[in-house]
């Protein structure tokens, strides 16, 4: 037999205030228990049953026969951040303790979001001689570490955490909530018709983060095509914000939601309003919506706390960490049979079985690795900037990519590079040879941040800078050879930006390839002295056509103007940097495509292994970083063979570009 008491948060004998608090607590409990767990309401809101000796576990009121020894008194106190009947975090510990055997009295101080208040309550319970004081909140760890040594004969437990601070009277407990999260995620992905699932989280820590990570992993494992949108609202208590987050998920198409921590009661209301299904955690949340809550991961803290209590009775006050999980029965998936989810339940059961027998793991999303790109033109320019954006998109092990494009002005680019470094990005890519001077000044200020820049082979001797360049003369050579073979007029036009970097390499290779193929072909090169002037590029192309060119090429982002001229005059076009076929399916013969991922993957793997850079890298035809993509919609007869022969010759070394 045990008794439950409600204790005032503040000690000091202010009876009237305590009575008022108790009355308010009673009212709150009455409201909060509407349709809810009776146990929860009883636990928190019954001062009359706690303060009155006749309702406690006194021998005179016990059900035990008079001839039997009353159980030895064992008093447990719980300090927790939210309401005891929150159908979430706090309720899980209250229910868990209620399920323990050998406990004669339980006192609960709930609603202590403020850590100082919680610390005062923990100290007061210890002074009152409670046998076990549970500080139920990872935020209470710091306070407990200070208090516990003052009461060496009192046992404390706290969670969710695995840290006992090396104290012999502290037990830690945590939940492998990623396991239940995985099961819920798999079911959510299977259940969703829209293919969008929403998650409302509090702060990205502790068992909340574990649950969300597991959920995301489970959903991805079940159906990689399902979009899981996660919103950590940065609060454990803001119900309104949680509701708004859920509204946002629904507005973005989510038809299945989940969430963790006590503020999710706001989100479940939104789910009910919009007919979305809900997956709960920490406690059985079916009371929040019998027609929406599909299943709940329920914490059974009693699985580990029973051992803690038995140990205390045997003289062992703590010093160990404990975990509840699916295997030890501390985590239980409780389905709401009122909702028919067909085969989805089987998905969940399979996941439970898989996690149990080890054939599945919750290995969540890959470790965060954030890449930032600063580039001079638009991300979709079908040229220089698009090549790096596409390249980074093809990398594995990158969790976030941020692009600042259109930074023709070097000062703006430098500011962006510095800002990304300050933001802690793992790799900052300055994609433009013009950014070199700025990077040489910035990189030493951030020795723990990796930078990459190109196109260049110069790392400035800095250990945290990687350089990358393209042997674009190789593709240029191939294109030039094909252009010379294709031209009927014997005149080929080239539109270049400024005579530097890979643009110059490409043009030089193009001229060499054309000369090698047919020395009689005239190749006119026009560097328009601008990377951005589309109109000038168009006029340069007009000039080439006026001078008899029937085949054109160009490099850098302003060539979109030149391709229009080629199309207008029926001239053929050879592209570079990205596949430029979209600019004219009937004129673009072939494109040299940059595959920066070929070298950047190694850079990223190196960073993860602790090597921040210091080396120069090159993409070329041999290592697959440069690829010639033909437009098969255009029949160029034997000219394609010319290109393929050039590729082979450059590959086996029988040809060189002369650059």
């Amino acid at each position: 037999m045990r008794r439950f008491k409600l204790r005032s948060k503040r000690q000091g004998g202010r009876i009237i205030l305590s009575a008022l608090v108790a009355t308010l607590g009673l009212l709150a409990g009455a409201c909060g228990s509407d349709g809810g767990s009776g146990g929860a309401a009883t636990t928190t809101a019954s001062p009359s049953t706690t303060a009155t000796p006749t309702t406690t576990a006194s021998p005179s009121t016990t059900d035990a026969p008079a001839t039997t020894e009353p159980p030895a008194e064992f008093r447990v106190a719980i300090v927790a951040p939210s309401a005891s009947n929150d159908l979430a975090f706090t309720q899980s510990i209250v229910d868990g303790v209620a399920a323990l055997s050998g406990v004669t009295e339980v006192h609960v101080t709930d609603g202590t979001f403020i850590v100082d208040e919680a610390a005062a309550a923990v100290r007061a319970y210890a002074e009152d001689g409670y046998d076990l004081v549970i500080a139920h909140g990872s935020q209470y760890g710091g306070a407990l570490e200070l208090i516990a040594p003052d009461f060496p004969d009192t046992a404390f437990a706290w969670g969710t955490s695995g840290n006992t601070f090396g104290l012999a009277n502290v037990s830690a407990y945590t939940a492998a909530s990623d396991e239940g999260g995985y099961v819920m995620g798999a079911m959510a992905a299977a259940l969703s018709e829209s293919g969008v699932v929403g998650v409302v989280g509090p702060i990205e820590v502790g068992d909340a983060k574990l649950y969300v990570d597991g959920f995301v992993a489970g959903a991805a494992a079940q159906d990689a095509g399902v979009e899981v949108n996660v919103n950590y609202i940065q609060s454990f208590s803001d119900v309104a914000l949680a509701a708004e987050a859920a509204q946002g998920h629904v507005a973005n198409g989510a038809d299945v939601l989940t969430g963790t921590a006590q503020m999710v009661v706001g989100a479940t209301g939104v789910a009910a309003e919009h007919g979305a299904k809900w997956f709960g955690t920490q406690a059985n949340q079916t009371p929040l919506g019998a027609d929406i809550v599909v299943a709940s991961q329920v914490y059974k803290w009693e699985v580990v706390l029973q051992g803690v209590i038995d140990g205390i009775k045997a003289g062992d006050l703590g010093g160990e960490a404990h975990e509840i999980n699916l295997a030890n029965g501390g985590l239980v998936i409780e389905f709401n049979d009122a909702i028919d989810i067909g085969d989805v339940k089987a998905v969940g059961e399979a996941a439970i079985a898989g996690l149990g027998d080890g054939t599945l793991t919750t290995a969540g999303p890959p470790a965060e690795f954030r890449v930032a790109i600063v580039a001079p033109s638009a991300s979709n320019d079908l040229a220089f900037t698009q090549s790096i954006v596409d390249g980074v998109a093809a990398l594995s092990g990158v969790t976030e990519v941020h692009v600042t494009d259109g930074t023709f002005i070097v000062d703006e680019a430098a500011a962006a590079v510095r800002a990304y470094a300050e933001d802690g990005y793992d790799l900052v890519i300055a994609h433009g040879s013009q950014y070199g001077g700025a990077l040489e000044l910035i990189a030493p200020d951030f020795p723990d941040t990796a930078f990459a820049w190109g196109t260049s082979g110069n790392t400035f001797g800095l250990a945290n800078v990687s350089a990358y360049t393209a042997a674009s003369d190789e593709g240029g050579y191939v294109m030039g050879a094909m252009a010379a073979a294709l031209s009927e007029s014997g005149v080929v036009g080239v539109v270049g930006p400024i005579e530097v970097g890979d643009a110059k390499l490409y043009v030089d290779g193009f001229v060499a390839g054309a000369a090698a193929q047919d020395a009689g072909v005239e190749v006119n090169v026009n560097y328009i002295q601008s990377f951005s002037d589309v109109a000038l590029a168009a006029e340069a192309a007009q000039g080439h056509v006026a001078n008899g060119a029937d085949v054109l090429t160009g490099t850098a982002q302003m060539v979109v103007g030149a391709t229009g001229v080629a199309a207008e005059h029926g001239a053929k076009w050879f592209g570079t940097q990205a596949n430029q076929t979209p600019l004219g399916a009937d004129i673009v013969v072939a494109s040299q495509v940059y595959k920066w991922e070929v070298v950047l993957q190694g850079v990223i793997d190196g960073i993860k292994a602790g090597d921040l850079g210091g080396e120069a890298h090159e993409i070329n035809l041999a290592n697959g970083g440069l690829v010639i993509e033909f437009n098969d919609a255009i029949d160029i007869g034997d000219v394609k063979a010319v290109g393929e022969a050039a590729i082979a010759g450059l590959g086996d070394g029988t040809l060189t570009t002369g650059s």
Binding site: D381, G406, T563, P582
Partner: protein, 310 residues
Amino acid sequence: MSDFFTLASLVFVVGSGIRLATPMLLAGLGEAIGQRSGVLNLGVDGVMLLGAFGAYYTILETGSAVAGILVGVAVGLIMGLAYGVITVTFGAEQGISGIGIYLFGLGVSDLLFQKQVGTPLPIRGFSDWHIPFLSDIPRIGEMFFQHSVLVYMTFLLVPVVAFLINRTTFGLDLRAVGENPAAADSLGVSVARVRYSAIMIANLLAGLAGAVLAIELGIFQQNLTNGQGFIAIALVYFGAWRPTGVMAGALLFGLVSSTVLQWRTLGIVSGAASSLMAMAPALLTIVALVVISRTVGQPSALTRPFDRGK
């Protein structure tokens, strides 16, 4: 250099110069009208960008170049209304307001392009219109009469705008408001109405200039104008606030650009010399501005808000 002085080369240079001048001329004509009323708009480039994207996107979606032109014009009118409210109704500082309009146009056009289009896709505009008989005149026809209808329209606007400014009541009010708004107001001219009208026309032409640029190039890209709107503002000073002067400046700028371009194409200049030559149009404009600023005065009330109560 002998390659350059062939008839074919020179014909091309003239034709190319005319094409390059067209968007700047359109925007410059509009800005001249605005400045004659006393309103400077540094946001021309931004309005051009918005007009260019509006026209490009419309053509991409509908296939109608005419609809594209109309949208470019409409965008210009909307921006003109906004600029009028800012500078005339609220009397905001014109320089800063114009820069704001520019940045707005630059950012919004890029944002819309990225979100609505993504990868640049070509559009088809107007085919070149070879004017009967005239286009057949050897060399002359090639240079002047084998262009897009938008080019002819632009150059025809020069006398129209000149007539509007110099030969109409509106033009008289425009000049009066730009020189001495208080005096014009005392004679019963609504300064606000005239300035609103001038700003609307100026921005209409800026939006149209952007539309023409996008249609002529058959593509849109981030910052497509590449500063042509600012060159247009310089051309207004270059042209001493006269349409014919603006046209002369635009043609000079275009012809110098096309000449340098042709020199590079023919390999006459390369390397460092090529880089230096790229600056030639801008240098020429600066020199001309210095000379003109010493001989011609700008509208007296340029950049000054008018407040009847003061």
